[in-house]
């Protein structure tokens, strides 16, 4: 049931900006304020080296309580039991749950897991957030090893787990990334569920590498087919995996994102696969998909090598109006930038200088946001090996490892440059990041960030970059004919004839993570900002606004 939309036409609200003045563009500064977020991730490991442990997990940002700021939902792992194995209680930790933190402003977060009803002590891996029933409240889908859960937002600060036959039967699978999107343009949101590997705990044997227990290669497991659930429009879903054609291939899905790669008006799906070709499912407009990754140029890296792809960020890196894909991967592989060249993607990692900084590291989450509001995105890349023992196994470079610093790449003269340790106190934090998301958590017009770190505290990063006053806008869309979250809508921002910035409202971010928020753009202060929205319904709307504003644009009837 769709809630009445309070504002039926353009609503513009002015928000005060706390940014300092100054015209120069300094390096971005992200300050480590992790003490403000009381979350420690566990993957449930107890010496068995289940591959799944090393993969977890993503996170989400959403305004679950409708108070206008972004709350944080962090996934947690769990102990994997071997069927039939004797189970000693000794040393067993109390199961930990996913956690929901309410944003109380000024980077104060309150754990509201229990009262909100989102507690889930499964091994959680991926998450997507969207208003699947168009009731104005963001819901949460959690992809687990175990039964997945669809958490319906009741609109009163609580969630109810939805019994859904189409998704309940998938409990034995190992989840990956998840993305809501409107595959058939019928105004409600369908759900793409990535699955990782075929895994049977009862057949588990501890893998050894160089004589020490180690996480096995993903190639030791068969890839698993993904699933597609179609929204029936009544709060239920049906499995259309077979009919949609995505069942023709099986991958080891991790991060994924749905977007209109060929700009034909329907939404396609990119899936980052671990140790095999990435998939790009091209939508024929009727919800039937063909895998075209190889033809489109996103299946492999420039050398024709399948990568251990992990996370993905969709972003117009070079501001040419086309959305590019930045895909993280394993150590001694590049975090690969697939630049969109009008329907063909070209691995431009080398040409853009995005190569050396990430090459030694296993990379996971990735944020492509305009941290310094200069109109060009920077990239925060989460790094960290699978476990702490790589050095012990010998032969490992000292520059890599489990607890390492994340990497920031900024743009200058068309090149990406490693900022190394200059991007604030968060640059000194050495952990092993998995999920990584950006969002304006304190509504100061600057993108902050949170890293979910394996077996460690999350890193909360406050953006303290000195940016000009009023150097951003944020655009919140409300669909009416289109799905209410406007997933799939294109937002084009132009100022004074300069290069147009493009973003697509989407589900599926970074590493198995998601965010429902207004879309942020860095803009030139004191100049009119021309905003154009191409809605999934096909409608287009234009609005001019001032820099420094947050606008909410409701789809015209």
């Amino acid at each position: 049931m769709q809630k009445p939309i309070a504002a039926v036409c353009l609503t513009i609200c002015l928000l005060p900006l706390k940014s300092a003045s100054g015209q120069d563009r300094p390096s971005i500064q992200l300050d480590d304020i992790s003490r403000n977020l009381d979350f420690v991730h566990t993957d449930g490991h107890y010496g068995q080296f289940f591959l799944i442990e090393s993969m977890s997990a993503g996170l989400a940002m959403l305004d679950y309580d409708g108070d206008g700021d972004l709350d944080v939902f962090l996934l947690n792992g769990a102990r994997i039991e071997i069927p039939g194995a004797s189970s000693s209680e000794e040393g067993r930790q109390k199961p930990k749950s996913n956690r929901l933190f309410r944003n109380d402003g000024d980077f104060h977060f309150t754990d509201v897991t229990e009262q909100s009803g989102v507690s889930d002590s499964n091994m959680s891996l991926g998450v997507a957030v969207a208003d699947y029933d168009n009731d104005g409240c963001p819901d949460i889908y959690v992809s687990n090893y175990g039964v997945n859960s669809l958490l319906h937002n009741n609109g009163d600060g609580t969630f109810s787990e939805t019994i859904n036959l189409a998704s309940a039967g998938r409990g034995s699978r190992v989840g990956g990334g998840v993305s809501f999107f409107d595959k058939d343009s019928d105004g409600d949101l369908d759900l793409y569920i990535g699955n990782y590997i075929q895994f049977d705990a009862s057949k588990h044997k501890i893998h050894f590498h160089k004589g020490l227990p180690a996480y096995p290669s993903p190639m030791s497991f068969q890839p698993e087919k993904d699933h597609l659930l179609e929204n029936n429009g009544d709060g239920t879903f049906q499995d259309v995996t077979d009919a949609s054609g995505i069942n023709k291939v099986a991958g080891r899905s991790m991060g994924l994102v749905s977007f209109d790669y060929d700009q034909d008006g329907d939404i396609d799906v990119f899936v980052a696969n671990d140790t095999q070709a990435n998939f790009l499912f091209e939508n024929d407009g009727n919800g039937v998909f063909e895998e075209v990754g190889l033809f489109a140029g996103v299946a492999f890296d420039f050398s024709g090598k399948p990568q251990a792809s992990m996370g993905v960020e969709l972003c117009d890196v070079d501001r040419d109006g086309l959305l590019d894909l930045f895909v993280t991967s394993f150590s001694e592989e590049f975090t690969t930038l697939y630049r969109n060249e009008d329907g063909f993607f070209s691995d431009s990692t080398l040409q853009m200088g995005a190569s050396a900084a990430t090459f030694p590291h296993v990379t996971w989450g990735i944020i492509g946001e305009d941290f310094d509001n200069d109109g060009k995105p920077e990239f925060l890349v989460g790094t960290g090996d699978l476990d702490e023992d790589k050095q012990a196994r010998g032969g490992a470079a000292k520059t890599t490892g489990f607890d390492v610093k994340n990497v920031v790449l900024s743009q200058a003269n068309g090149q990406l440059k490693d900022l190394k340790g200059t991007w604030g106190t968060a640059a000194k934090v050495k952990r092993s990041t998995r999920g990584l998301l950006g969002g304006d958590l304190n509504q100061d017009g600057r993108i902050d960030a949170i890293a979910l770190n394996a077996r460690n505290s999350a890193t909360l990063m406050q953006n303290s970059t000195t940016t000009p006053v009023d150097s951003h806008i944020s655009v919140q869309l409300v669909g009416t004919e289109s799905n209410r979250d406007a997933l799939g809508a294109m937002i084009l921002v132009n100022q004074n004839g300069r290069r147009t910035q493009v973003e697509q409202v989407r589900s599926g971010h970074s590493y198995q993570s998601d965010r429902r928020s207004a879309t942020h753009f860095g803009v030139s202060p004191q100049e009119v900002v021309k905003v154009t929205v191409a809605w999934p319904s096909g409608k287009r709307q234009h609005v001019d606004c001032k820099a420094g504003q947050q606008i909410t644009l409701v789809e015209a009837k």
Partner: protein
């Protein structure tokens, strides 16, 4: 001194055993390096270069022509030329290729073939002692060569091996580290010992330590290739891609003829985003090796990145036409999908996509399923390769018992390791223990049943021990199992030709050989056998065919004229620069090995 004939069959015989042994022992290269050699053509080219000049058997020129029963050997004996169109069975030097003549002091060229020699190394930095035999003095026929392993071992501080191979990978690794340290401690001035220490640290230990050791090697010898490569690998691993380029570039400068090093540099330049330089480097490498599949494939990839889709298409198609290692075939197909897609030729793009998918299904790609990984076996295999290399260093330093110990340990740990068994067979022969050598060769036969070389060596050893029936039966058994094996047919024909020239028994096998592989050289062999058996018409017929198939080879036509009685041997110019071709005077009395009796 005469070059032995460099025909294809000969090359096969010479290289099968020799290259492998040389890879793991003689030249200090690991099997990993061999596997990474990007182009079989390059390997073949290298093999061509490695064909060793073997001195004529002293007896060869003194053979009575009647002993061979034919005209040709007489002719050639008169000409002072050496031997026939193929390796002579009767010449043990030639027969063995790898293995040194056990009853005579090898000449310098033969030492070059010795797997424990460094004489043929192209690396200028490997200025190591010349070949040493097991006794450590370079002269297998000296009294010292009779020294037993035990006596030698008493003089050596042996590597600290566990009593039996451990069943725990960690302990296998620890043992390897101990041995590497022992090797270095035993030969502190040996760059190769240092290199093994660095490599062990890089593979199993501390990369930082490996870096320190390799850097210390470069201080002593700035052109030490393996240190340059090792430091390049570390730099790559750590994302210092430009530094890696510098190391690989220096390695190329030290070894400018190696195309594989230049391809490595091209790849490093690409990774370091120096695309134009990568293009130049690879194009330059291809100037001297235009058919090098690996270089073509890499250049194609670079051109794709440079958006020269036509150029990429051309190079990638050429790469496919060239010989590429099976696990690299998919790469050009993938590149061609992109190239044709960008050139708007969807059909061809689709074709290459399908080809790629077929390869994936065949499991020929690196990223095939890896379900049954056995860590202990993998570690034993890796450590075994290290031990074989370390054994080589021990031998060059004059510590043969230590080398033997490591080789035997390798044979215990890795049932598939050919390098250790080849070396042990060689050791056994040096020690005049033919039955021990036969035992190792028998294991090699089981590992590589399709490789005739081992069977041939076994047969030769039986000849040396005067067990002719066994010598014959091993050959026949091989052919029973693999009747169309050209190398085996050739070897068997040569066996009979050399040892029983007058009965023409070899003709049956030579005939099967020409049916199987109708080349000029094979017909020349058949002609020689027929001639030796006194079948002049058949010899003329076969030699006519040889001359017809190889018209450029004047020796066949000359031999044909001799057979026809049109000329006498003295009319044949002796300054023929095309090299010797004609059959060796068969050795009818191969001297038996002086058996020490210790390995019966």
């Amino acid at each position: 001194m005469h070059a032995i004939f460099c025909g294809k069959a000969n090359r096969t015989l010479t290289t099968n055993l020799t290259d492998a042994a040389r890879t793991s022992i003689l030249a200090g290269r690991t099997e990993r390096e061999l596997l990474s050699a990007s182009d079989p053509k390059e390997e073949n080219a290298a093999a061509d270069e490695d064909v060793v000049e073997i001195p004529a058997h002293p007896a060869a020129s003194k053979k009575d022509s009647k002993a061979s029963g034919g005209i040709l050997p007489t002719v050639l004996g008169l000409l002072g030329l050496t031997l026939i169109a193929v390796i002579g069975y009767g010449s043990t030097n030639e027969w063995f290729g790898l293995f040194a003549e056990s009853d005579s002091v090898p000449g310098p060229e033969l030492q070059k073939e010795n797997p424990l020699s460094n004489g043929d190394q192209t690396d200028s930095n490997r200025n190591l002692p010349a070949s040493r035999n097991l006794a450590g003095n370079g002269n297998p026929s000296s009294a010292d060569s009779q020294t037993s392993d035990e006596e030698t071992a008493r003089k050596e501080d042996l590597p600290p091996l566990d009593p039996i191979p451990s069943e725990k990978a960690v302990e296998v690794i620890e043992e390897c580290k101990r041995v590497a340290n022992h090797l270095y401690g035993t030969m502190p001035n040996s760059l190769e010992a240092k290199e093994m220490l660095a490599r062990t640290e890089f593979e199993f230990g501390d990369t930082a330590k490996a870096r320190v050791v390799w850097e210390s090697i470069l201080k002593l010898n700035p052109q030490f290739l393996y240190a340059l490569r090792g430091l390049g690998d570390i730099a790559t691993q750590e994302g210092e891609l430009e530094l890696a380029v510098n190391y690989y570039r220096k390695a190329c400068e030290c070894d400018p003829t190696s195309i594989s090093r230049r391809v490595t540099l091209g790849v490093a330049l690409t990774q370091a985003a120096k695309l134009e330089e990568a293009k130049t480097e690879l194009e330059s490498a291809l100037e001297n090796n235009p058919g090098h599949g690996g270089a073509l494939a890499e250049l194609g990839q670079v051109l794709l990145l440079l958006k020269d889709f036509e150029g990429a298409k051309t190079r990638l198609e050429a790469a496919l036409a060239a010989q590429i290692p099976p696990n690299n075939i998919a790469k050009p197909h993938l590149g061609l999908v992109t190239a044709y897609q960008r050139l708007r030729d969807r059909e061809k793009a689709k074709f290459h996509q399908v080809e790629y998918q077929k390869l994936s299904r065949d499991g020929s790609q690196v990223n095939s399923e890896t379900r049954d990984y056995n860590d202990l076996a993998a570690i034993r295999e890796d450590v075994g390769r290290f031990y074989v290399d370390m054994a080589r260093v021990y031998v060059t330093g004059g510590f043969p018992a230590s080398a033997s110990l490591l080789l035997i340990r390798t044979s215990q740990m890795d049932k598939q390791n050919t390098g250790c068994r080849q070396a042990l067979a060689f050791f056994s022969m040096q020690q005049r223990k033919p039955y021990e050598a036969i035992r190792w060769l028998g294991e090699l036969q089981k590992i590589e049943p399709e490789n005739f070389t081992y069977t041939k060596e076994i047969s030769r050893l039986y000849v040396q021990t005067s067990e002719m029936e066994k010598a014959e039966s091993v050959l026949i058994e091989f052919l029973d199992a693999d009747p169309d094996n050209a190398a085996a047919l050739h070897g068997t024909a040569m066996f009979f030709y050399s040892l029983l020239p007058n009965d023409g028994k070899g003709a049956k096998f030579a005939q099967r050989l020409v049916d199987q592989a109708p080349s000029g050289e094979n017909y020349a062999l058949l002609a020689s056998i027929q001639d030796a058996a006194g079948k002049n018409d058949e010899a003329i017929e076969a030699m006519s065919k040889a001359a017809e198939l190889s018209p450029e080879n004047s020796k066949y036509s000359d031999a044909l004229k001799v057979l026809r009685g049109e000329i006498i041997p003295a009319d044949i110019p002796s300054s023929d620069s095309s090299g010797p071709i004609i059959s060796p005077p068969p050795s009818t009395s191969v001297p038996p090995v002086v058996n020490s009796g210790s390995d019966q």
